[in-house]
Amino acid sequence: MKTAVVVFPGSNCDRDIAVALESVTGVKPVMVWHGETVLPDTIDLVAVPGGFSYGDYLRSGAIAARSPIMRAVVDAAGKGVRVLGICNGFQVLTEAGLLPGALMRNQGLNFVCRDVALTVGTAQSAFTSRYTPDERIVVPVAHHDGNYFADEATLDRLEGEGRVAFRYADPVNGSARNIAGLLNEAGNVLGMMPHPERRIEAAHGGTDGRRLFEGLLETVGA
């Protein structure tokens, strides 16, 4: 599986996701600078990493979403390339219009940084195929703006279409319907606030995040 990681100024989880991807796929991801206008050919997955791109200026993810490389990422997503946005990456994907809704300041105003329990919403995607629906997993979160917002009609549609990939088992940040991770309509784009790349080996305290990457590898094949 060939992967790419987008590198924005200010992001601090680009190397974490690169290490996770290499650990599972055995192949080093291509690191793609935000100012580039094209992605490498024959990429199976593009990861949009967590961590304060552009210092969260204006709004979290807003400036990154308008960077040159994101036009290529949106094009690739339209062609079925898998795109995974984690934390700030999720914010970037909503700002870029690849996923509906917006991520607002946490309801409690605190930066939340701890392990949280999630329930798996659907196993019907390349990202979640190694989980079972309603399974409880533990993955860390670390964010200030993870309060997912969409209007009621959008939320009903997302739930009806089985696009909620992960929910917080207990409220964490005020997120509408406890949504922690969302799929796009075609199922090839996932945005999530928790950090699966921080739970890929036993030394991290668990491997619940690793299965997300293993599922991708299995679906894509090799």
């Binding site: 809704g101 917006a102 607002m104 300041r105 946490n106 005020g174």
Partner: protein
């Protein structure tokens, strides 16, 4: 030409920062405050011949996230 763009959360969208300010005002003894909403002000200096459509476009494409925010343009 100077422009001021006021970006505010849409009515009905929870504003935790406004709520915290409201709470702090209450702690200071200002009891009569009904509600507080926090927004932001973005000041732009643009060419005098910049057309309205371009300014609207700047607001919609970047300055405000219209899923959750409204904007208002003030020309100085």
């Amino acid at each position: 030409m100077k422009l001021k763009v006021y970006v505010t959360l849409k009515p009905g969208v929870l504003d935790p920062q406004g709520r915290a300010i409201h709470h702090a005002l209450g702690s200071l003894g200002f009891d009569g405050v009904q509600d507080v909403r926090q927004g932001k002000l973005i000041e732009l200096e643009v060419a005098d011949d910049t057309d309205d459509a371009a300014i609207e476009s700047m607001c919609r494409k970047l300055l405000a996230n219209t899923v959750i925010e409204n904007y208002r343009i003030e020309r100085a």
